[in-house]
Amino acid sequence: MTLTITAGREQTRARYPDEHGHVERDGVRLFWERYGDGEPTILLLPTWEIVHSRFWKGQIPYLARHTRVVTFDPRGNGRSDRPQGFEAYRRREFAADALAVLDAAGVDRAVVVTWCDMGEALILAAEHPERVAGLVFIGPSLRLDEPDHGQYPFDADPGTGEGWAKETRGYWLRDWPGYVEFFFAQCLTEPHSTKQIEDCVGWAGDTDMETILDGFRGWETKIIDPVEVAALCPRVRCPVLVIHGTEDAQVGPSVGAALADELGGRLVLLEGAGHAPHARDPVKVNQMVASFAGIGPAPAPRTWTRALRRPRRALYLSSPIGLGHARRDLAIAQELRALVPGLEIDWLAQDPVTRVLEAEGERIHPASAWLANESTHIERESAEHDLHAFQAIRRMDEILVANFMVFHDVVREQPYDLWVGDEAWELDYFLHENPEQKRAAYAWLTDFVGWLPMPDGGDREAFLTADYNAEMIEHIARFPRLRDRAVFVGNPDDIVADRFGPGLPPIREWVEGHYDFAGYVTGFDPAGVGDREELRRRLGYRPDEQVCVVTVGGSGVGGHLLRRVIAAYPEAGRLVPGLRMVVVAGPRIDPASLPVHDGLEVHAYVHGLYQHLAASDLAVVQGGLTTCMELTAAGRPFLYFPLAHHFEQNFHVHHRLRRYNAGRRMDFATATPEVIAAAIAQEIGRPVDYRPVETDGAARAARLLAELL
């Protein structure tokens, strides 16, 4: 498959620079960024111009939380200039660029971190020791024996297009994207590295083949000569750390080992890692860089409490996308407190979940302020009633690492007995990637299992979802004791009939073998809502009104659906005498941004929305599980519109609602205002025959957690 490289839209960052600018040196403009403050400064060098500074996205948010971080785009890529001619891309130019950037950012001295160094970092440290406080090499290319000639002479025709024969001028001119894809597959040889490879290919797409070709005449000219390496090494005076993957297919670990030896530095080999561990194993690399630079979580807590004097404490991470999980997690937490008297619960949470928690007087851990916002990212990923949920989670990788590192620091500074992660992907994924980080009982909750491809995603999406499922299955098989509890919020029949992918197990069979089932957790007791007539009176709905509540959950994705339903209001009003339509924009959509009609009510965030849903005669909603199940439990008719390309809403939720015989599925693409008005008229006030929803889900989930305390 030939891949066309197109410079994609940049995904949401976990942190944006505090300062940025261009510095000009010899007519070449270089783009730099500064994040955070503090000492020492960490300078993350670009490597050669095949990628740019986004390559450090797994490091920047963490390091910048503890100190000042400076990055810049190399000449030839990103937002820096593309000067012409081979001489412009000599390594000495890159070293001089680094100095110019340090000057521009007002930095005297920095700890320099470099990937695949071809000479620039070594030159910097040897010739400008006063500017370099320490040096971290990741997979350095600096050989002391003989130059790297590559497998094939760059300018000759190897007579084949296989393997490293792609690294020739002739092949580049024929199939540059094919080379780029091959090259980065050789950088990231670890299984399940699709996202990292795609990222790199995308950054290569931010420059062009002509620019790369301008500065490349084979590795023996790109990397400084071994004689020069040997001459520079004795001049390096600062502490040195060399990190090298043992499975590095670009530069063998013996190269890093020899360099560490020559520099008197420390060598850390990452067993099984490839050429770019900072991208594939970001948690480990972040820890090593932080420890080398002397930053990170406070080494010694100011107070240490004797074990037997500690109250039982739990740290609860509630999935922060929308509001779906906030209420059920609160209900579980309340039941858990009843089972474990004296239990203290801290929440590591972000907006909009924090609004619900604050309203309930829960304790939000102050470090929550450091979390990068996931809802913002999801909103940016969405189009008109369209959210590719799988890709949106994939494209959240930077935020997930950054937020895991917040968690990492929190649990080092404060011991907990139990961690609870309700679809807290960052916690579950990076714990399994870094199992030695487990230091408490850990319970995982979810209401769906299995990434599923959308039909129009083709083979590629089917491959990617299967690859993600396979990695998860391997994680659990290899570290079966890491999750002390895996709780499925629902029942076995709620699980879809699909397989995880070709050659992978059926989802239901696997989940039944690896999960406990809590039943559904609505987060409220329908009986507690009380008599419906009384409830309507309390909420101000008259008996002769036909109340239609329109809501799209807690994220900002639903604005288009709200507008479409509002457009159906006049027609629906003609069809339904006494119609009262109540639109709830939610915490992240500005009600003032919605159209107005006589008689139409628009509200912002409504605490206790489930009561309004229970009191309504009809609800119009998105296809999110929580709201749909609240309506199911309350026995109200509803129209639901799954977001296009949202696999969870289209498959997992849809399957569950069919089992409950609940709701009428609508298709946003074909639902004109007239269609919606007609459906409202047909459904409103209709008696329903739903399968009952259990009311003891929160108590059952809490019992499963309490056993860990």
Binding site: P239, G294, W304, T305, R306
Partner: protein, 306 residues
């Protein structure tokens, strides 16, 4: 020499150690022999100072095996207990003598600089050594330091040490006459105050056992040797300390109040770690936490931070 022979004979069989020293010896100063041990040979050197001679260098038994795997660790028995001499007279036990003994051990072992670790009275000696000889001290970790300010201590509240008292209850046992009469009872009382945490029987037995290795007469001399100092004098010494300082102090310490450690940290610009619910000898009762804190402190002195 009779004294030494007697004390040797009275040493009970020691329980199996986790690690035995790589070198040991005596250093003699003014006719008094002080016994030292060296474990390991890494960098840097840590000098684990003695405390009050009611105990001896075995007080560090939970630290030495761990620290010596990484660093060069020196210990010595404070004069008056262990295998060191028991000279007669309070003058032999003033604070300056212990500081001078520490320097003598550094010299005898060829140690230019060391990280000092001091418990209780050893914390005072570490501070005095760091203030007087900064070129010999890389850093000072002070555990429940016994700096003589913020009086009165619990034992000083109405119980003069040298007077015959009517009472023998509680801190009234901290009295030379009572020691000479009921030495073991005093040791048991003191150890129970030092280890105020529940379930501390073994640590209490250890302390009583080490206390029995010296004599009440010697212990009276060490107590009379401890020098009072004015608050101004103490503060002046603390302000002279230039090396990095870590203070660890239990907030349940009944022998030396937590406020002392907090003040020491403040006056030296050091870091304070509070052991919530911790008593007077956390290195024995909470050895893992103390070991890790000491390692973190030593590591913070090295690498790029230096």
């Amino acid at each position: 020499m009779t004294t030494r022979a007697t004390s040797e004979r009275r040493r009970p069989p020691e329980q199996t150690r986790a690690r035995h020293p790589d070198a040991e010896g005596f250093v003699e100063r003014g006719g008094v022999r002080v016994f030292w041990e060296r474990h390991g040979d890494g960098e840097p050197t840590l000098l684990l100072l003695p405390a009050w001679s009611i105990i001896h260098s075995r007080q560090w038994k939970a630290q030495v095996p761990y620290l010596a795997r990484r660093y060069r660790v020196l210990t010595f028995d404070g004069r008056g207990n262990g295998r060191s001499d028991r000279p007669a007279g309070a003058g032999a036990y003033d604070d300056g003598q212990y500081v001078a003994d520490a320097l003598a051990v550094l010299d005898a072992t060829g140690t230019r600089r060391a990280v000092l670790v001091g418990l209780s009275r050893g914390g005072r000696w570490a501070v005095e050594l760091a203030a007087a000889r900064p070129e010999r001290v890389l850093g000072a970790a002070l555990i429940d330091p016994a700096l003589p300010f913020m009086a009165p201590l619990p034992r000083e509240q109405g119980y003069p040490f040298e007077e015959e008292l009517d009472s023998t209850e509680g801190w009234a046992k901290f009295n030379r006459h009572y020691w000479l009469r009921e030495y073991r009872d005093f040791l048991e009382f003191f150890a129970s105050q030092a280890f105020s945490e529940p379930h501390s029987t073994k640590q209490i037995e250890d302390m009583v056992g080490w206390g029995l290795e010296t004599s009440p007469e010697t212990l009276v001399a060490t107590q009379l040797g401890a020098q009072p100092a004015s608050r101004e004098e103490v503060e002046a010494v603390l302000r002279r300390v230039r090396c990095p300082v870590l203070v660890v102090h239990g907030d349940g310490d009944r022998v030396r109040p937590h406020a002392v450690g907090a003040a020491v940290a403040e006056l030296t610009g050091g870091a304070l770690v509070t052991v919530e619910g911790g008593g007077h000898c956390p290195q024995a009762r909470h050895p893992v936490r103390i070991n890790l804190l000491l390692r973190e402190f030593v590591e913070s002195l090295g690498g790029m931070a230096r």
